[in-house]
């Protein structure tokens, strides 16, 4: 998996290269916008990580040029700017994801994994968490190696949750995802599907956070032991 990092801060670029190499990515690093655009042709990356604050060409312009030639090259934006407008701009220009500095390395890796899975290469098709594993390509879920019988919608909901482990997904967001997949849903369908999923999954795998949404927690619930 080839990864192009366009980031002007040398220290950050080299630390990131190293961290990503440790995760078995082949990383090419560019310190300028132009250098990055040149490298896309030569290096032919699978994923681009782009910083917005570049010295020569503004990151949004790099993204615009990149999109002109590579319509579907997965691109993740890094930025020190924290305004909503920046985020909206970046996503409007066709960025696949957006991460604000400073970020946790685990967060960046999780986001990259989502992009990798979207590429559909075989080795990274499954998301494993605790004893549950979700195969994105085969659209199956198994617990302790036993494949569950699930509906398409249940699979979509769990995929959304497991792609964002540790974070809350609101009911509205999950609904909009289902709409995006062409599903037609009633007002309490999400509750019904989640309740059905819960019956098939280990206890407390999907947690409800009242008033906020659903989450698959990355923290082992040791409440019972404490």
């Amino acid at each position: 998996m080839k990864l192009l990092l366009i980031e002007d801060d040398r220290a950050l670029a080299s630390a990131l290269s190293k961290a990503l190499s440790n995760e078995a990515f082949v990383v090419e690093s560019a310190l300028t916008g132009q250098g990055g655009l040149d490298a896309i042709g030569k290096f032919d990356p699978d994923i681009v990580i782009l910083d917005l604050g570049l010295p020569d060409i503004d990151g949004t312009n790099v993204l615009r040029k990149l999109r002109a030639t590579h319509k579907s090259l997965p691109t993740l934006i890094l930025t020190a700017r924290h305004t909503t407008q920046d985020k909206v701009n970046a996503l409007d220009l066709g960025a696949d994801d957006y991460l604000q500095k400073p970020f946790e390395m685990a967060e960046l890796l999780a986001r990259i994994r989502v992009l990798v899975r979207r590429l559909g290469t075989s080795s990274t098709n499954t998301i494993n968490h605790q004893n549950v594993s979700l195969d994105v390509a085969a659209q199956t879920i198994s617990v302790n190696g036993t494949t569950l019988i699930i509906t398409r919608r249940e699979f979509m909901i769990l995929k959304t949750l497991m792609e964002n482990i540790g974070r809350i997904q609101t009911k509205d967001y999950i609904e909009s995802k289902l709409y995006g997949w062409g599903e037609i849903i009633g007002s309490n369908t999400i509750e019904v599907h989640v309740s059905n999923l819960r019956k098939k999954l280990p206890a407390n795998f999907i947690r409800t956070v009242r008033g906020l949404g659903y989450t698959v927690s990355n923290v082992l619930d040791d409440k019972t032991q404490a």
Binding site: D9, A11, L12, A15, L16, K18, A19, N22, G53, L78, A80, R81, H82, T84, Q100, K101, P102, F103, E104, M105, G166, R167, I168, T170, V209, R210, G211, L212, G213, T215, S217, N218, V219, D221, D222, K223, A226
Partner: protein, 442 residues
Amino acid sequence: MKSIRLFLIVVLLSTICIVNFTAALNGYNRSTEAGNSLLDDRLKSMSLMIVRLNDIHGDVGSDTFNNESIFQIWRHDTLLSKSANAPSSMLISGNSDFHIVNSASVQWRIYSLNRADSDIHVVYGERYDLYRQLIDGIILASLLPIVWVIPVFAMLIWFIVGYGLKPLSSFAEKIRKRSAQELRVIEFEGLPNELLPLLDSTNTLFERLSEAFAREQRFAADAAHELRTPLTGLKVSLHNLQQELPEEDSNLINLQACANRMENSIEQILALYKLNSKMFRQTLSKCRLKELVRATMIDLFPAIALKQQDVEFIADDVVIDGDEFALSMLVKNLIENASKYTPNYGVILVTIKEAGEHTVKITIEDSGPGLSEVDYQRVFDRFYRVGGDRHSSGVIGAGLGLSIVNHVVTLHMGDISLSRSSALGGLKVIVSLPKTQSEESL
């Protein structure tokens, strides 16, 4: 002096009145004097004429004169002739002179003529009261218009002064109508020379202010980049180090703790900086409070989940006038505090409730130890130490966080109160915010 127009009218009118009355009084005196000397000249010449007539004819004829004049002709003590209305006694004796005499119940101006070359003594007079009436009538007729014209003057001055001050008032109106955010230079055609320095200095002030704002915004953006990028480098390097070191290294743990603290402080300082400039340039818009608080809580959830705390969010769907960034900073800091001071497995409850027509209450309560009532006051003392020594507070970042909370509450003309949560037993923070902001506060 409250109004230039009023001042000018009062001063100008009083000046005009004083000058007019002085002139009128002077004119009255002079006219009276002139009138009197005219009468006296006539009395003199009439007396001489009577003497001459008497010399020639030996008689003047008492019917020669009408009722409004009077005469007597004496030779020594003998009355030679007199008008019908004259008494038989001598009206005036003595030398040639003018007198005012009352006779037949009217006032007369009388001249008594004693000629040195003759023993004839003539007394001649005319109705002085009538004459005075005539003179006074004439003088009054010429003076009265000056008095009548004063109200007209007043009105004219009112309009003229108003017209003259028009550029000043439209200039003032132009400044008044500007919104607080507008710092463009004022364009003003046809401003009189006297007001040009005012326009110039106002524009200089606006220019400086907008430069300062631009500088501040640039600085905030630069500072954000300059601080966040190396911090990210630091965190990623720490991540790499963690991969390489064989086991939990105490140095690494310390470094990570420091980096996290620094991250927290940097974000707080940047937020405070941004809020400070918002104090001057408010950009309030309609905020959907429920969505805003939910988004903030979702951002905070990973840290809360790490402490295995339960969060719960119950909200009315309320729209308020507010600043999105500021409000999310308010909620973020209060919930972070709640999570920080509540032990593992604790509960945090966030509610948004409409309180009457104009107010909405955001309540954050937890199952932590809470504060004693003495501490409520202490915490509030720290709240109001805005701009003071924020660094001396015992809890890391608490001073900054509370400053932010206070800033946001002030920015929205809201109110904050602390108490003990009856439901959870810990601290209960209630932030009351008005749903709509009045015009002045914008």
